[in-house]
């Protein structure tokens, strides 16, 4: 798969618009899903997605092939999303301090109780951006922690820490909704 993407990148660097269209078709949906999960605004996400692929077109010749094409493109999307959030005035760029949270291992019960998607969507939405991005890339895109670190431009250990906290907060949120009987 990535070799196909790299081939397309080479073509795009040479000015091949059809290669750009092919790459767009291959990655548009996951990249959009990632952006919209961060911005929670479909219209703004449309614009960012557009800008991401315009950047791909303009800078394909600078892609050195040291990472996956997907990782490189998600990195562009990640940075552009941060720019948007900065403009909005709400971004938590680092949040790696330890947070005391309750361990509530009953989240499985929550997920078995119906409304799974609503619960998960709500609880993902309560996470801070760094946490939400890490979880989204891990579960929507099935990325490794090394890949997520490249996308976010931080050390791998930072991603592990973010995932650690995100997981705890997510479990607590899901269990809390079950205990409160949120439909």
């Amino acid at each position: 798969m990535d070799s196909d993407h790299k081939f397309l990148m080479t073509r795009i660097a040479g000015g091949d618009r059809q290669a750009l269209a092919a790459l767009y078709r291959a990655l548009e949906r996951p990249v959009y899903k990632f952006i919209v999960s961060r911005l929670n605004d479909p219209h703004e996400a449309n614009d960012i997605l557009h800008e991401v692929f315009m950047d791909v077109w303009r800078s394909a010749d600078r892609f050195e092939g040291r990472s996956k094409v997907q990782t490189w493109i998600f990195g562009i999307a990640y940075r552009k999303s941060i720019d948007v959030m900065r403009k909005r005035g709400r971004v938590d760029l680092t949040d790696d301090s330890f947070e005391q949270v309750d361990d509530s291992p009953d989240a499985v019960t929550c997920l078995a109780a119906g409304q799974e998607a609503d619960h998960v969507r709500h609880c993902i939405g309560t996470l801070k951006d760094d946490h939400r991005s890490a979880i989204t890339l891990a579960f929507y895109q099935d990325m490794t922690y090394a890949e997520i670190a490249k996308v976010a431009g931080v050390p791998e250990g930072t991603i592990k820490t973010r995932i650690f906290h995100a997981k705890k907060l997510l479990m607590r949120c899901l269990s809390g909704r079950v205990e409160r009987g949120v439909a």
Binding site: E28, R29, L49, P105, V108, L111, T144, Y145, L170, M171
Partner: protein
């Protein structure tokens, strides 16, 4: 390397998504064998992942692609075609399809109404704007313009995706409009005849008026 309980918990989501390898994977598997709470966490994470992946998101799709191609084309210097030009040229038919989608995007993006408002003119005698400029206050005309083959008004509740699908199915593109009355001019794509396109448009549930 020794793994603390926190290390294992941090790695657990990557075990759940199947990307963990080597020593990390072995350490998590060893911990799972002896820790029921960890196994419960894993089951929850797998369920969360499954739920997240099953969630459908309506991405821009072909509309986004049309917008991208339009802007890429606008950026490409006319005097500097790519070296291996022949296989880089987008087929005319495909370009026109992109233009069709781009036209709808423009209409939606400009926030125009697809139908006349309550105070608009009576049904007879309506005409679409015929401005030749690419964009005007009352709509736009594509460079490929000329007299449109059809004049159309879409239903007020017609969705962007439905309009796009109808245009593609009928083999037409928006070349003029919207007028102040919300009318669009449609032109036939290459190799599509009036006899083919008209019944498709006329029988569509999202078309209020076709001339």
């Amino acid at each position: 390397m020794s793994y603390s309980r926190d290390d294992i918990e941090a790695l657990l989501p990557f075990y759940a998504n199947g990307t963990l390898e080597g020593a990390d994977r072995a350490a998590v598997e060893a911990a799972l064998e002896t820790d029921a709470e960890l196994r419960a966490d894993l089951a929850a994470l797998q369920a969360i992942r499954q739920t997240m992946q099953a969630e459908e998101v309506a991405s821009p799709g072909d509309f986004g692609l049309a917008r991208l191609m339009r802007d890429v084309e606008a950026e490409t210097p006319v005097t500097a075609p790519p070296a291996a030009a022949n296989d880089d040229v987008v087929p005319v038919t495909r370009l026109r399809l992109w233009q069709t989608a781009a036209a709808v995007i423009l209409a939606v993006g400009l926030g125009v109404n697809l139908l006349p408002g309550p105070g608009d003119a009576p049904e007879t005698g309506r005409s679409i704007a015929t401005d030749e400029a690419p964009t005007t206050e009352e709509g736009f005309s594509l460079a490929s313009g000329g007299a449109p083959d059809f004049t159309i008004a879409f239903a007020p509740d017609a969705r962007e995706a439905e309009i796009r699908a109808l245009l593609l199915q009928a083999g037409v593109e928006i070349t003029q409009g919207p007028s102040a009355l919300g009318l669009y001019g449609l032109s036939l794509l290459d190799s599509v005849s009036d006899e083919t396109a008209r019944p498709i448009l006329a029988n569509s549930g999202i078309v209020d008026d076709l001339q």
